[in-house]
Symmetry: C2
Subunit: 440 residues, 2 copies
């Protein structure tokens, strides 16, 4: 082999993903060099406490606590510490010292991405973050490059493996949320404190990143409406199943036309439990797998499927970014990160337009259906399917009926007003569920 | 907007895809310019007979018969003529004149790709061909870039929409091949002469391209074993269905270890009808859709799904390549096409190792199962499932039995020898089907 350049790689953080990245950099050094056109030398691994990492089978002399010095001496910096600080400061230091940066830090990107992209552009270095969304699945590069000649209209993503595992368990076994969560924790799919996953915060950060790339506009975390899955019940799942649907936690970003139907009013970015028809490609995504479904004007429907988490799969995405950045350095190309250039407004959740599934516990009296249908009509919400199941208790006395309604597409605002009004009816015992429906 | 550079785009060919590419270049000029950082000016469309294109709503003055002159004056050349010549000569002219080339010509790439890649490298221009495999689905860029830090072990692709439509029809309706083909022709999914699709030649060209990119080695069309779907019967489909499988025409490229189990002996590249378990993600790919399923050492299982053909979807892939190439020109980056660098041998079909489904019509006599099982054992082919169904004719006389066998993984050579030996048994009426099985 002819003389080959060596590029110094600094690794920040040595958790689950970081340890795998380090292992692959060492074990597969030759393959990576042939792909990148340069040797990728792991110059150090910055951690808070090197002794805590003695369990990992990595040369101990690589560990350091001086992340700042490590970064300043590197050609390529991989940030896998997570959290806002010191990750943010170290990435900015790397950029200002001319290093390309690869990160998987979705929280930082969702909060502060625009600043980082701008700094990278100014310095002429690449900032890549394929690992931040949907783990091993190549999704950001296809959106940015492969679809650069098209117009994306909608993105629906299963981007959180923990919640998909829980909902899939509930769907398969009929379990309640708390039991499915416990099972997920037992198997290591959910953390001891599962809040960030089950309340949708993790998915919301990814939704902001996906929306920004898809619509060439910078969306921040506060632009994302977010509702988790902790209030989804076994009976919601059963009712959905019965009606031919499955419930998934979706990250959704979609262009909405302005009310008069011309042009784009803006983009609705949201995370919430969603009913999907069982024949929809996303309905077949089981367990902790992730998938992103994209609708584009010319390409039509596309789906990207794979493992959304885990040390080794996520390390694959990190190394793909690393090799691509190294190639660019070797070939002397521009480091410019493709940034967002547009200015489509983020719409509030009230502007979202979707179908709804509404479950009602109603009195079993004549005329109930007509009164409810009348109320929906008054609020401009059109009903697609209405289905009543009558329950009689063993004594055949106190009678109630279960009413399930699927609406045509309506605005959140109209739906909210309708549900409020329904609650006020004397014939309503309770509103048992209100869920959004996509893919119909 | 500040002063923006203009890049001249020459379009060769104006069929289904070409006409859509031209339309989008004109209609979406502003969006494309903002993405590319340069105006993309369609400088001409080379066709054999301009008058034949009067039906297309494109400015007639764009049409020319002088493809050579058009190419020599362009910054970017889109080749959508298909076939070997004059496409090959025009692409080489474009490259030598310093133009980046975007093509969807799988036949040319499968036959002559290496020459073209080398010429593009030498000239420092990009040669992109996302549209050549699986239409709108971004698959080549993810393999080349996103998985550049990983090692792909296997690729299974549904890369021909016509055959997937036909097999899906047969599976859904129980139709025979000829009826499903007629339906596909009626709906425009199959051509009047369907040979290239149904005999697997189209899929074989794509398999060669996928294998070359996935295994960093140049595979040619003659390295691909190819078997089409014209001999798949309704009863094959029914038997597969009954056993929990679906039959798909797959393009397969997989690394095989050498017989002693160490290292890689080579890559088996093949196209044939294949049984897949119904729960496999590829089994859910219906109609004329395409999908490519990839297994990589670190990333695990990935799948890419979308429309594999059609003017507008394929145009999306062409324009993605065009905008990416234009960006590179504007930013002054290297034009080097990522080429294959390895030297893994292509293995003959005899070396392929897979499971098999074998259907036999046997005499209903005691001891038949034992004799057949013994014969398989003698040839080193291990049986996983053996299932016998006895048919009695109305007069309850002439009795025969249907025997269905699924083997464990075995080599093609061992299987072929076994089937030959089975045919020689006096208790065998006929071998009704021999099909390969993947994904188990």
């Amino acid at each position: 082999m002819t003389e080959m350049r060596t590029l110094k790689v600094a690794l920040l953080g040595c958790g689950n993903v970081g340890a795998q990245v380090a292992r692959i950099l060492i074990d597969d050094a030759e393959t990576l060099a042939s792909r990148a056109g340069a040797r990728l030398e792991l110059s150090g691994i910055a951690v808070r406490n090197p002794d805590a990492r003695r369990d990992v089978e990595l040369p101990h002399e690589l560990f350091t606590t001086d992340a700042d010095a490590l970064v300043k001496d590197a050609d390529l910096v991989i940030e896998l510490m997570g959290g806002i600080e010191p990750a943010r400061t170290l990435i900015l230091t790397a950029i200002r010292h001319g290093a390309c940066v690869v990160t998987g830090n979705k929280a930082l990107l969702a909060q502060d991405g625009p600043t980082l992209y701008e700094e990278a552009d100014k310095a002429g270095v690449q900032l890549s973050y394929e690992a931040a969304v949907a783990g091993a699945i190549p999704i950001l590069r296809p959106i940015r490059d492969s679809l650069s000649g098209d117009r994306i209209t909608r993105v629906l993503g299963i981007v959180n493996g923990t919640t998909n595992f829980i909902l899939d368990q509930m769907d398969t076994t009929g379990a309640q949320f708390t039991d499915a969560l416990a099972e997920a924790q037992r198997l290591g799919y959910a953390e001891a404190d599962p809040t960030a996953d089950v309340e949708g915060h993790d998915a919301a950060a990814k939704a902001a990143i996906l929306a920004s790339l898809s619509f060439h506009t910078r969306f921040a975390l506060e632009d994302v409406f977010c509702e988790g899955i902790s209030s989804v019940t076994a009976s919601d799942i059963a009712a959905a199943k019965d009606a031919g649907f499955v419930i998934k936690l979706l990250a959704i970003a979609e262009k909405l036309a302005d009310p008069d139907g011309h042009g784009t009013a803006g983009v609705s970015v949201r995370v919430h439990p969603t009913l999907l028809p069982r024949e929809h490609p996303l309905a077949a995504v089981h367990g902790a797998f992730n998938a992103v479904f994209i609708e584009a004007e010319n390409a039509g429907e596309l789906m990207f499927y794979g493992q959304g988490a885990g040390g080794t799969p996520t390390a694959s995405a990190v190394l793909g970014d690393l090799v691509s950045a190294a190639r660019r350095i070797v070939l002397g190309g521009p480091g410019r990160t493709e940034t967002t250039t547009g200015h489509v407004p983020a719409l509030p959740i009230d502007a979202a337009v979707t179908s709804y599934y509404i479950g009602l516990d109603v009195a079993d009296q004549p005329g109930v259906l007509a009164r409810i249908a009348q109320l929906f009509a008054e609020h401009g919400v059109s009903i697609e399917i209405m289905r009543q199941t009558i329950h009689r208790d063993s004594a055949a006395k106190a009678e109630s009926a279960e009413l399930r309604i699927v609406t045509h597409r309506a605005s959140e605002a109209a739906l909210a007003a309708t549900v409020e009004a329904v609650k006020g009816l004397d014939i309503i015992n309770s509103v048992t569920s209100v869920l959004r429906v996509e893919g119909v």
